[in-house]
C-alpha cells in the first residue's frame, strides 16, 4: 500500500533511463541530459539508418536488376583504380626508373605496361582532364584553357565555371537576404564517364579531378578539384602580414600584403575575408587578430576564434576562420599560417582561405555531405583547386622549403582521402588526381637546369632533389596501393601531360602589335594588363590565356572587325608567321606548330575555341605579360620566376604517362582512350560521342603491348640537362 508518488531511485538509474528517460535524466541533471539526449538521437539515427538501409536494400537490388540487370555481367574488371599524377613526365619517370628510384612503378611496368600517353591540344590540365572525364576532344567539351575572353568585353573569364549571385533577394534595411542559392554552373560540355557508369549502377568515387567544380549530380561520390575557388571567390589569394613595409598595403600577383604595426611585442591586425554580399556596400568581411611576438615564435589569437603558437619556419595546422556576414550568419573557411621570420621583421604568410570542407560555403562535393564526411574522418584538408600556392613562391613571399612542405602536406591529405576511397570501393571505380607532381615540377624545374634564367638571383642547389623526391613519394604510394588491392583490380597510373623547361617567355600580343595585327590607341606603344590600351576597332588578333590566339571576329567579338570571308586566310597567315618566329637569342624557332582550330577540331564548340593554338618548342611559353593581355617592349624575355617548368607547348613534346597492371593492345595510347576503356572494362558500350579506343585486349585475350617504355621514343625538346634521360656521354 503506497498512496504517494515515489521518486525514481538513483541506483536504478540505468533501467529508469530506458523506461522513463526524462525523469531519470533530470535527477542526474542536465549534464546527463546532454549526453543522453545526444546518445539517444545517435542510437535512433543509427538504427533507423541501418534498418532502413537493410530493409531497402532488397528493393534497390530488385530495381537495379530490373533496370540494368547485373551491371558486371560482361565486365572484364569489377574494380578499376585510376591514380592521376598531374604532370608526371615520361622522360623524368624513365630517368628515375633507370636510377632505381621508382621500384613500384618499375614493377608495374614489368608486370603490365608503361607507355607515353598522348595528350590533348592544348596540353594543359583543364583541357586534358576534361578530355579524360568526357572522352572527347576540346571542341566537344568546350574547355580550351584556364581562362577565355568574354567576347562582349574582352575581359578574362574562367573557362570552366560561371558563378552568379542568387537572382531574387529580400532587402531588409541594410541586409540583403538571398532567396535561393547562387547559381554555379559547370561550363564543361559533354558527359563525364563516371556519370555513365552511375547510370549502369556501377559506383564511382572521383576525387580532385580538375574541372569538376561545381560537382555534377550522379550516382557516386565526387570531390571537386582544380577550379574550386577560395573563400574570396578567386583562384587563390594569399595574405602576407609584415612589419617590413611602412608604405601601406602592397599587392602581389596572387596575393596581398598587410602592413603590421608593432607596439612592443603586440601587433593587432585583421584577416581579410570574402565580400559580404548580405550587407549593402558591406565590403570585405574581416577577422581581427592579435599577434604576440616571442623568441623565435609568435602567438596568434583570432578574435572569437582559435589561438595558437607558431614557431619560426613552421606551418600551423589548419585554422578555422569564421566570418560574420549578418547576425547568426557565418561563412567558414580554413587557412594555414607560416612564420617566415620573427626578427628584425615579423613576416607571416597565410594561405588562401580554403572553403571549409566540413562547412562548405559552396558545394565542393557530391553529395554535399561527402566533403563533410572526409573532413570529419581525416580533419580539415585543402579544398582550393590550385591549392599549392605557386604564386606565393613566385612572388618570393615564401621560399622553396615552405612551398615544398606545403605541397607535401597537401599530398599527404589527399593520400588519406584516396585510400579511404579505395577501401570503400570493392566494386566500381576510384579516380583520384594528385597535383603535387605538377606543382613541384613547375616550381623546381630550374634545379634541373644550372643555366636557367630563374636561377640568377636565387640559390640553385638546395632543392635539386625536390622533383625526384616527389616522384619517389608517389611511387611509394603506388606500392602501398598495389599491396592493398591485389591483382583483381585494374590499376592505372596516368598523367595528363608531361613537363619541359620554361626558360623564355614569348609575348604574342607584342608580336601581333609589331606585325600590325593588334593596334593600340593613339600615343601608346605598350599596354597594361587585359588590353588596357588596345584599339579594338583596328585589332585583328589578340592573345589571351596560355596557348591561344583569338581573331577579333565580326559577329562573335563585340567590336570584331574580321569578316567570315577573311577569317580562314588570316588564320593561316598567322600560323605560318608564328611557325617562322625565331628567338633572336639563339636564332632557333620558338614555335613548333601553330594550329588553326577550324582545321584541328570538328566539334560543336569549335566556334568558342582560340582560333590559333600555339604549340611552342620546349623551353618556350607565353610570357607572363602575354598571359595577362599586356603589350610590352620585347617579344622575347627570360623567365626569371620560380615557376620555371611548364607544359604549355606543342603537345607532342609533353605526353603524359600511362602505367597499368595489365598489358594493353595499343602501342600509342591517348588520354581520351582511358574513359572509353574503363567503360569497356566494366562491360558497357561507351556512348557514341566518345572518341577513344579500347586499350585492352578483348575478353579472354592477353594484351600484346607491355613492359617498360622505350626511352628513345620520347621527345626531349627543350629538356633541362638534369631532365635528359641520356646525358651526353652516357650509354643509352
Amino acid at each position: 500500500m503506497a498512496p504517494r508518488t515515489r521518486l525514481p531511485v538513483p541506483y536504478a538509474f540505468a533501467v529508469a533511463y530506458l523506461l522513463a528517460p526524462a525523469i531519470a535524466q533530470a535527477y542526474i541533471g542536465p549534464g546527463a541530459g546532454f549526453a543522453f539526449a545526444g546518445s539517444l538521437a545517435v542510437m535512433v539515427a543509427a538504427f533507423a539508418l541501418a534498418i532502413g538501409t537493410i530493409l531497402l536494400w532488397p528493393f534497390t537490388f530488385i530495381i537495379r536488376t530490373i533496370r540494368v540487370g547485373n551491371p558486371y555481367k560482361r565486365a572484364q574488371a569489377r574494380r578499376v583504380i585510376v591514380m592521376g599524377l598531374d604532370g608526371m613526365d615520361p622522360g623524368l619517370t624513365t630517368k628515375f626508373l633507370r636510377e632505381g628510384k621508382l621500384p613500384n612503378l618499375q614493377k608495374l611496368a614489368e608486370k603490365g605496361v608503361f607507355r607515353a600517353l598522348d595528350t590533348s591540344n592544348p596540353s594543359m590540365s583543364p583541357v586534358a582532364w576534361s578530355t579524360f572525364a568526357t572522352g572527347v576532344d576540346p571542341s566537344r567539351h568546350g574547355i580550351f584553357d584556364f581562362i577565355t575572353r568574354d567576347p562582349c568585353t574582352y575581359a578574362p573569364i574562367l573557362s570552366s565555371t560561371d558563378i552568379k549571385n542568387a537572382e531574387r533577394v529580400l532587402n531588409i534595411g541594410k541586409y540583403i537576404v538571398p532567396l535561393g542559392k547562387p547559381k554555379i554552373e559547370l561550363l564543361q560540355k559533354s558527359e563525364a564517364f563516371w556519370k555513365v557508369l552511375g547510370e549502369k549502377h556501377i559506383p564511382s568515387i572521383i576525387q580532385r579531378v580538375p574541372i569538376t567544380f561545381p560537382p555534377v549530380k550522379f550516382r557516386g561520390l565526387l570531390l571537386s578539384g582544380m577550379c574550386v575557388p577560395d573563400l574570396r571567390g578567386s583562384q587563390g589569394t594569399f595574405s602576407f602580414f609584415s612589419t617590413a613595409n611602412n608604405e601601406g598595403k602592397a599587392a602581389f600577383t596572387g596575393g596581398e600584403q598587410t602592413v603590421l604595426r608593432r607596439k612592443g611585442n603586440v601587433i593587432r591586425s585583421r584577416i581579410v575575408g570574402p565580400d559580404n554580399s548580405m550587407v549593402r556596400d558591406g565590403g570585405r568581411m574581416t577577422l581581427p587578430f592579435t599577434l604576440t611576438v616571442g623568441k623565435d615564435k609568435v602567438d596568434i589569437s583570432i578574435d572569437g576564434g582559435e589561438s595558437f603558437e607558431l614557431k619560426h619556419r613552421t606551418y600551423s595546422e589548419w585554422i578555422h576562420l569564421s566570418f560574420k556576414a549578418a547576425p547568426g550568419v557565418y561563412v567558414a573557411g580554413i587557412a594555414r599560417f607560416y612564420l617566415s621570420s620573427v626578427e628584425p621583421d615579423v613576416n607571416l604568410y597565410m594561405t588562401p582561405i580554403h572553403i571549409d570542407p566540413e562547412s562548405p560555403a559552396m558545394p565542393i562535393s557530391h553529395p554535399e555531405v561527402y566533403s563533410v564526411y572526409l573532413a570529419k574522418r581525416f580533419g580539415p584538408f585543402a579544398t582550393l583547386g590550385l591549392a599549392e600556392d605557386t604564386w606565393a613562391l613566385n612572388e618570393r613571399v615564401i621560399d622553396e622549403g615552405a612551398f615544398f612542405d606545403q605541397a607535401m602536406a597537401f599530398c599527404d591529405e589527399r593520400e588519406k582521402l584516396f585510400f579511404d576511397a579505395v577501401a570503400h570501393t570493392r566494386e566500381g571505380l576510384v579516380t583520384t588526381v594528385f597535383d603535387t607532381t605538377d606543382r613541384v615540377q613547375h616550381m623546381f624545374y630550374r634545379y634541373l637546369d644550372p643555366t636557367h634564367p630563374a636561377n640568377r638571383d636565387k640559390e640553385a642547389t638546395a632543392y635539386a632533389d625536390a622533383i625526384p623526391r616527389v616522384y619517389a613519394h608517389m611511387d611509394a604510394m603506388i606500392g602501398k596501393l598495389l599491396a592493398e588491392v591485389g591483382d583483381d583490380a585494374v590499376v592505372m597510373v596516368m598523367s595528363d601531360h608531361g613537363f619541359t623547361n620554361f626558360r623564355r617567355g614569348v609575348n604574342l600580343n607584342t608580336w601581333l602589335f609589331r606585325e600590325g595585327y593588334l593596334a593600340l590607341k593613339d600615343g601608346h606603344t605598350v599596354s597594361g594588363d587585359w588590353f588596357e590600351h588596345v584599339d579594338w576597332s583596328r585589332t585583328q588578333a589578340f592573345s589571351m590565356g596560355l596557348t591561344g590566339l583569338f581573331i577579333n571576329r565580326k559577329g562573335r567579338e563585340k567590336e570584331g572587325i574580321v569578316a567570315d570571308a577573311e577569317y580562314p586566310a588570316l588564320v593561316k597567315e598567322l600560323c605560318a608567321k608564328l611557325e617562322a618566329l625565331v628567338d633572336p637569342e639563339n636564332g632557333k624557332p620558338a614555335i613548333r606548330k601553330a594550329v588553326a582550330a577550324f582545321e584541328a577540331f570538328d566539334g560543336p564548340y569549335v566556334f568558342e575555341a582560340p582560333d590559333v593554338l600555339v604549340g611552342y618548342e620546349g623551353g618556350y611559353r607565353h610570357s607572363w605579360t602575354c598571359a595577362t593581355g599586356s603589350v610590352t617592349t620585347e617579344v622575347f624575355e627570360d623567365n626569371t620566376k620560380s615557376w620555371s617548368g611548364d607544359h604549355c607547348v606543342d603537345p607532342s613534346i609533353v605526353p603524359g604517362v600511362f602505367f597499368c597492371n595489365r598489358k594493353i593492345a595499343v602501342e600509342k595510347p591517348h588520354i581520351q582512350d582511358i574513359p572509353f576503356s574503363i567503360l569497356s572494362l566494366f562491360g558497357h558500350t561507351p556512348p557514341k560521342q566518345m572518341q577513344g579506343r579500347m586499350l585492352f585486349a578483348a575478353p579472354g585475350q592477353e594484351g600484346t603491348v607491355g613492359g617498360p617504355l622505350d626511352p628513345r621514343s620520347l621527345p626531349q625538346s627543350g629538356s633541362a640537362p638534369g631532365a635528359l634521360i641520356f646525358p651526353e656521354g652516357a650509354d643509352a
Partner: protein, 274 residues
C-alpha cells in the same frame, strides 16, 4: 542526511523567498538555467573535452558512412556498429561530470519539487495517512499505533492495520491550516504535518528514515530509534508550469528541458563541447 537536508532547505528557503510561492515561474526558470550553466562549468572542468569531440566526430563519421555507402551492406553494418560503439564511449566520457553534478543537481531539483510540486489539500476533502513501522526496531505492532488528531481534522473511517506493519487512516479535513498529526507507538511519538487549504506553500508528503529522505527534505528525518520507518500523506499534485504534467514529473520535465536548452544555447559561449 538530516544535516544535509537542513542545510539545503535553509539555503533554499532564503534563495526561493524573494518571489515566494505566488510566482513559481521565476524560480522554475532561474534554477534550471543555473543548473544548465553549472553543468557546463563542471563538464568543461572535469570532462575529457577532446575525447568527447573525438567521439562525437566519429559517431558522425560512421553515420555519414552509412548514408554515403548505403548500397554496400558490408560498409553499412560495421559503420552502424562503430557509431554505436563511439556512442558508448561518448557516454563514458560523460560519467565523471554526471557523478559530480549528481549532488548539486539533485539538491536543486528536490528543493524545487518540495516547494512547487504539491498543493495543500482542500478543506472538506479526505486524505489518507499511512504509517509504516520499522521492523528492525521491533517491540511495536500495528495494534500499538495510535493517532492524535488536531482540531480541524477528524477520522473519516476506522484505521486499517496490515500484517506487514502498516497502518492507514482516512481523515476528513474540516479546517484550513498546517495541522500537526501526532502518532504514538508504545512510548515513542512522531509528528507529521498536514497542509490543508490556504495559499500555495511548501508541502511535505513524506517523513522517512530511508535514503528517500534526501528527496523529501521538508520535515526532519525520524531518529534511528523511532519505531516508525516512514509516515506519508496522500499528495495533491500542483501544476507549476502550463503544458507540463502536475506534480514532480512536471517539474522534472521542465527542469530537464530548460536546463538542457540553456546548456545547448550557452555551450559556445562557455566554450564547451557537449
Amino acid at each position: 542526511m538530516g544535516l544535509f537536508n537542513r542545510i539545503c532547505t535553509a539555503i533554499f528557503d532564503v534563495l526561493l523567498a524573494p518571489f515566494g510561492h505566488g510566482r513559481p515561474w521565476f524560480d522554475l526558470v532561474l534554477w534550471p538555467l543555473v543548473g544548465g550553466i553549472l553543468a557546463l562549468l563542471v563538464i568543461k572542468a572535469v570532462s575529457n573535452q577532446a575525447g568527447i569531440t573525438r567521439a562525437k566526430n566519429f559517431i558522425q563519421v560512421h553515420l555519414l558512412e552509412v548514408v554515403l555507402f548505403r548500397d554496400d551492406l558490408r560498409t553499412v553494418l560495421p559503420a552502424t556498429v562503430k557509431s554505436l560503439g563511439y556512442n558508448v564511449l561518448y557516454l563514458g566520457y560523460n560519467i565523471v561530470p554526471m557523478v559530480i553534478m549528481f549532488v548539486p543537481m539533485t539538491a536543486i531539483l528536490v528543493q524545487l519539487v518540495s516547494n512547487y510540486a504539491y498543493a495543500p489539500l482542500p478543506v472538506g476533502s479526505t486524505a489518507l495517512v499511512v504509517a509504516k513501522l520499522d521492523a528492525d526496531v521491533g517491540g511495536v505492532t500495528p495494534a500499538d499505533v495510535k493517532l492524535d488528531l488536531p482540531e480541524g481534522v477528524s477520522l473519516d473511517a476506522p484505521p486499517v492495520r496490515t500484517p506487514d506493519g502498516e497502518v492507514a487512516w482516512r481523515l476528513r479535513l474540516d479546517a484550513p491550516g498546517d495541522h500537526v498529526l501526532t502518532l504514538h507507538a508504545g512510548a515513542a511519538t512522531e509528528t507529521k504535518t498536514l497542509a490543508v487549504g490556504g495559499e500555495p506553500r511548501k508541502v511535505s508528503v513524506l517523513r522517512t528514515k530511508s535514503w528517500e529522505a534526501l528527496l523529501y527534505p521538508a520535515e526532519a528525518v525520524p531518529s534511528a530509534e523511532s519505531p516508525f520507518e516512514e509516515i506519508s500523506i496522500q499528495a495533491r499534485k500542483d501544476q507549476a508550469m502550463p503544458f507540463f504534467p502536475d506534480g514532480e514529473s512536471g517539474i522534472l520535465g521542465w527542469f530537464f528541458g530548460v536546463s538542457l536548452l540553456a546548456g545547448f544555447l550557452l555551450k559556445d559561449l562557455f566554450g564547451v563541447t557537449l
